[in-house]
Amino acid sequence: MIKVDNVHKSFDDAHVLKGISTVFEKGKTNLIIGQSGSGKTVFLKCLLGLFTPDEGNISYDGKIYSSLSSDEKRDLRQEMGMVFQGSALFDSMTVEGNVMFPLEMFTKQSKSEMKDRVDFVLKRVNLDEAHNKFPSEISGGMQKRVAIARAIVMKPKYLFCDEPNSGLDPKTAILIDNLIKEITEEYDITTIINTHDMNSVMEIGEKIVFLKNGLKEWEGTKHEIFKTDNEAVTNFVYSSDLFKKVRQMYIEERN
């Protein structure tokens, strides 16, 4: 569980995060949504420890990040997995090398143990035939799956995903969403996804935090988002005619 308490973050004169408080629960896919410039990426980077909040605290299962020593912070970082928007795979390494990298860096496992673990996670993300390919030789969807495999290879307690299905076709995007949800449940991890993909919201949004101008405007589940009267949320989520109709049908069905 990650608890965020009154987090503020500014860059020069720009006050990007203006006191965000929320709780991201374990074993659930937690979504951060909001328009571009609402502070989602800065918030995610604060959660990852890449940015230090100017005010407020972030605690990971009771451990307050700002009060940890640098060694404790490094240990905590090793419990985090991250899937970047552009996958951020290391160009000079093969798929296998990319996934094995955290194991080589931080464990004392033998080569065969590492190989077994890499084979297992690559199979888990349905990529058991791309071991020796380089990132430039595989598709965007496959790169995302490699990134997920790399993020989970160390059995993390926290999984962060920044726009995991951006640039993917709708079918692959749903596959990636479902894969993240399955992994979250299977490993009982706290997953936080930064997205503005409405399919993801409707499919896997077990907890949704909506940011607007650096403030938490709304939070709830994918079921609650259908019923909310919050104008900012409805304007954002149901901006297309299709989603407006879906919402109308959902409400009528419920009534």
């Binding site: 490094r74 240990d75 991250m82 970047f84 951020a88 290391f90 860096m105 962060f160």
Partner: protein, 245 residues
């Protein structure tokens, strides 16, 4: 003010490079990879340039000897002095600032743009140690290629001088041995070691702290080349004053 801030963040970067070392088994393979890329990868171009510059120095010296009173062995002497004191350590380092420096800035800059450096940091890896330290260690071998550049440059001078009819082989070799001061070679290697550190760190700094996209990677490479060259030239002056002045 901006320059001061840059010098400050460069100093902080250097400190970070030596903190939280990467596992030795991984670092060893990174160092070997960088030696292959930065040292062996530069050998060809430096040999090619050294040979021809040595030749040009010999020809120009010979063509400027107009008085019969000036001994013919001056061609070999001037070639040796020019190559050992300046061409090999300084001129080659400027060439390396273009070749190796641009490579370092663009490779690290691309990693920054594509979030690969963020990925390292999120994993808890000291990205500066992982990326910059192997380059510094690899470039400690830089004096070896400079020694080769000295040798090839002098050979180039001999070939151009003798086969071009500007000097006899005996005169040239006599000039090479004339008033030889071994400390000049030491001075040259000391300069080279300092330049090697500059070549590894200034381009890394420009790549690591760059902001923006692909266009900015190109701009960072150019800026890195300019600043590496400027620093090498200033340090060349200071070191010459300190060691020979």
């Amino acid at each position: 003010m901006n320059y001061l801030a840059s010098i400050g963040s460069y100093a902080i970067m250097i400190k970070e490079v030596f903190k939280k070392p990467t596992k030795w088994s991984i670092m060893r393979s990174l160092i070997l990879k960088e030696i292959d890329e930065l040292i062996f990868g530069s050998l060809g171009i430096l040999i090619f340039i050294s040979f021809f510059i040595g030749g040009v120095v010999a020809i120009q010296t010979a063509l400027n000897i107009t008085s019969e009173l000036i001994p013919k062995n001056l061609v070999g002497f001037a070639t040796r002095q020019s190559i050992i004191l300046e061409f090999a350590p300084t001129f080659c380092s400027i060439i390396m600032a273009g070749k190796v420096g641009s490579y370092i800035t663009s490779s690290i800059g691309t990693m920054r743009v594509t979030e690969q450096i963020d990925a390292l940091e999120v994993m808890g890896v000291n990205a500066l140690n992982y990326l910059v330290f192997p380059k510094i260690i690899a470039l400690f071998l830089y004096p070896f290629i400079i020694a080769i550049a000295m040798y090839v440059g002098i050979c180039g001078g001999w070939v151009a001088g003798v086969f071009g009819g500007f000097s006899t082989s005996a005169d040239f070799i006599e000039g090479l041995q004339l008033d030889f001061i071994p400390f000049h070679v030491t001075y040259s290697f000391l300069k080279t070691l300092v330049f090697a550190f500059v070549l590894a760190t200034i381009p890394s700094y420009h790549g690591f702290y760059m902001k923006g996209g692909a266009l900015e990677v190109g701009k960072a490479s150019t800026t890195s080349f300019v600043w590496t060259s400027v620093v090498i030239i200033i340090l060349n002056y200071i070191l010459t004053q300190l060691l020979l002045g």
